[in-house]
Symmetry: D2
Subunit: 341 residues, 4 copies
């Protein structure tokens, strides 16, 4: 069997662990051959391939990023894109695809399945906002990086009687903010799932200063105040994509200064949250996802994606990947509130 592998969407610690597991078990146990497609769906679309044998996957387990590179190319938005993919796969003798990616990448995989392409999906979202699986790889690494930053910021905040606002990833779901905030001992955590009351945040900040401690506020990049909207808040949305020069973190720090008269600083963690070596949890989960994906391919159980349920890896229909966003439920947010000073 000849199998193509690709990674799409934003990079995420653990992608290389998935690729390695797919190839190692595919070659070693099943005798498969592999074609590496570069740059996500652009790979099969433009015939951008690279060799993918056991040799290429040696030593990549601890490495962040993806040796296959990635892109956000969507073949369904390109005239004749799907036909080109099918033609290229046929020409290369590729019988099945392992597609590793998030909502967009797996959305394409789902539609291709309907069009007769053999695909098995591996879910990837650093934000952990996918309903079909208990957890996704990359999330644990991101939370650890954010937690270590918060640990560091506590001491500098205390030394200067200063509020520190830490802006973490999470446009639509606040899982990173929730877990990093819980793990880092944040005094307030603000999520996209619930608009926050600025007066309430200011009150927490003041209370914290009163007991002679310095407040740490963890805020997801997608969090918003109750009155006012994102357009007003960010203002300086940049022309080149994600890096908002005056994001919600900076805005909140400014509000704290203005309303409390205390010093405040904002730290925007940005891309350091998604690069670098994966945590043990993510390496194990990604490896297990890879093993389960190649098993599914070998079983010719296409149109499925792998998922974590409890301690086991299961298969669910690919369509699950795009069905519903997993947001932070009220009872999980209530856990964090027990620590709001």
């Amino acid at each position: 069997m000849r199998i193509g592998v690709l990674t799409g969407g934003g990079d995420c610690p653990g992608l290389n662990a998935v690729i390695r597991a797919v190839v190692r078990k595919g070659v070693g146990t099943y005798g498969h051959e592999f074609v590496g497609f570069r740059d996500g769906w652009k790979g099969p679309l433009e015939n951008k391939t690279m060799p993918l044998t056991v040799k290429e996957v040696r030593g990549i387990l601890p490495r962040g990023g993806t040796i296959l590179r990635s892109s956000r190319t969507n073949p369904f938005k390109i005239e004749g894109g799907v036909e080109r993919i099918k033609a290229n796969l046929a020409e290369l003798g590729v019988d099945a695809l392992v597609a590793i990616g998030g909502e967009d990448t797996l959305g394409v995989a789902t539609k291709l399945t309907d069009l007769g392409v053999n695909v098995v999906g591996v879910p990837k979202t650093i934000d952990n906002d996918l309903n079909a699986t208990d957890l996704t790889f990359g999330f644990d690494t991101a939370v650890n990086i954010a937690m270590e930053a918060i640990d560091r910021l506590h001491t500098t905040a205390e030394s200067h009687h200063r509020a520190v606002v830490v802006e973490v990833m999470g446009r639509h779901a606040g899982w990173i903010a929730l877990h990093a905030g819980l793990a880092g001992g944040a005094n307030v955590i603000l999520l996209p799932e619930r608009r926050f009351d600025l007066a309430d945040v200011i009150a927490h900040v003041q209370k914290r200063f009163e007991i002679d401690y310095s407040p740490i506020i963890v805020i997801a990049e997608g969090a918003m105040p109750a009155d006012g909207d994102m357009v007003t808040v960010t203002g300086e949305l940049d022309s080149f994509g994600h890096v908002r020069l005056g994001g919600i973190g900076n805005w909140l720090a400014q509000q704290i200064v203005q309303q409390t008269g205390k010093e405040a600083r904002a730290v925007v963690l940005g891309h350091i949250q998604r690069g670098g070596t994966p945590s043990a949890f993510d390496r194990v989960l990604a490896t297990r996802f890879g093993l389960a994906a190649i098993d599914a391919v070998n079983d010719r159980d296409f149109g499925k994606m792998v998922a974590l349920r409890g301690t086991e890896i299961i298969r669910v229909p690919l369509i699950e990947a795009t069905k519903e966003l997993k947001t932070v439920p009220a009872h999980r947010f209530a856990e964090a509130e027990a620590f709001f000073d």
Copy 2:
């Protein structure tokens, strides 16, 4: 309500996070008062107490160990022990206990429950070998520490064409070896759950050297060769407890030298696996366990312990804690075997 808290058995990253969560929510949400019992069951037995207010638990979230200290004291093995505990609790006006510990500590808790003491348990085992919960805190930290050591040992092994045997914790269950080995890219993983065939291990080692790589073998301290038994293997069991001077790791390294003529080194990770700051996963899980425990106390739902099931924290009967050891099942070990060179 006046509640006692104690930690028993071996220490584990996350104990302080549990204590903090219990006290923060107990005081802040329910208005409870707390008594800290020192040194596990020795605390209520000998009336060794310490103050346990919000002040004592500030800043302890990132700290390893336990501010309450620990011991392996078992009141049921001490003449009149149980009566003294009941008398001391009555005298201190302690209405309920939160007992944080492993099989032994929770075994005592279970028996005390039968004798009318109000206890809620929080499971703790760094080895993750407790059947009643999907995961326990401390395990993730231990696996990360072992993985980082393995990452380091790869480069020194390669540079010297040398086999490296890494002995990790795990007397009866090989979870740490399995996960650290998977995460660290071990070439062979040996667990207590299945006796290993030395000839087989040697064959893997030789095969790895043949492809010009250096083998890393991860072995649980409780793993044993198929022929021969522990007494023969260790020989020099020391007089003061755990530190076996010539443990299984050193024995295996010696066998590799003798049978392959190559260099080999053993590294025994030992106690660094259980100390120090907890990982984000463990801080979050321990915090959630603490919150759920104090909820159970407040509900007067005694004789229960908290547990992780999927992504939720549930309550199970305390008796579950001691019922059955969770060992590595065959299908999980098979995952690792896909990577044995």
Copy 3:
């Protein structure tokens, strides 16, 4: 002898190690007594004190920040400030001061010495820009944090064919940028010491993309392009101090996008560089500074500060602390240029 200790200016990993060493050796070897002054010079000015015995300094070695807290208060800018300090010291029976701080804090110390106050200084600058000492504590920790971030950003940059601009601390001297850039394998390093030619940077970026790698540019916050000045560059200088919403890093990323058509991201490391547990190097250097400072006090060798020269700690006149900024010399920058792609 009764000695006051204070920490002034921005916090820095290692401050607690200095305090601990001063107190431990002062009490243990010399039998001194200590008064902790809080919030830098505000402490002796406003009689803000805290106990400072061996008990207070236990366990603080690995902790970032300063248990004495800090401020930028300058008594010479306050009417009658110096007189109040002298009166307060007299009243408290404080015979000598150990002042730990940077240019400003030690500038005050120098002037107070001239006015008859017994001071020994310990130099502190995370930027390492002090001519009188080979190295200062805190710098090594900051460089390690920045390097780890760069390590992480490499993989995310590669995966997305994307340029990443990393903005690090350094307003007037580029030591952190130079060392973090060298250690992190940056392709271009930009320092405040030499205005950069934007066309040149763009050329390096393009050359790097041509060989199918992604460029990482490390830039000090104080770096400036050859044409244009800081006001033009940042535009949105904020009203509350350091956090420039549109700093030089973001500006450069935007220029790269506009001139190369490639993606680019800026990451501003900010305050995570100065918080948290110190590296081994900084703990040892800070400890040795503290020991040497209390030796100087005990010798009544006032008006001096301690400094590292080669492998030894020496004493130099306090005035040295404010004499000249140590900037990156041409031959050190040339080292980095050997790696510019």
Copy 4:
């Protein structure tokens, strides 16, 4: 110019950084060509070579170990060894060698220089025991790893009222023990440079327990008690090299148990101290050494090795590398004694 590069002796974090700097500047600035010799002096002896262009050194800066591999082969101990090396170099057209290694490797380099081979040396000793240079790369990484282990062991020691003995590298010089002990807050530090009085150590241990803290003793593997010698102490010296099953650390832990009745544990850090990614300090120092070495080669200034003096890299005669061991002087040990409880 055609230049050979080799790495000899035990591996050390930073070796790859040296190799990379030599090649990057050699190719980029001077237009040199390189031959990689594998396995130390065995490379030129047995014509074991590998390509060494800019391509091979990409991405190796953060990696531990050495891409050239290493060995302890000494051509002067092999009949006709030196002649074969000279013949092989001539045949390969290799005009000069960069030899990176410790006392043994550079000892060979020195003798070869006398026999007309063009060599420039780069000093490498993880133990930092080389008199000719202020510091060597690898040492800082080892100290950080040991310190992190000690940080972790503090919490587990405290939780169990237990003494912990940490055995670190250092057969003849105690630099790692001294710096890791200072950085980790050890209560006693024992070095090879001065035989220790067991009764004295026991007294410190007891005093520490009395103030309700747990003692951490850092001991170099080469430390010895005042009465008794190494043979008696270790007993079970193993047949396969370094790993002493019952080393001095285990012996000391046993003594503490027997003489105090308290629990004690020994942790032998072993090879994790020398593997893995280098610290920023070591990456920068190793890079600077590599740059300076290729400069020396280009200047045809052979028979020299590079060294750190203060903040500058200088050249010293190769013979310096083997002249004298740099041991811990009394005044440096006295620094640590200030913290012995």
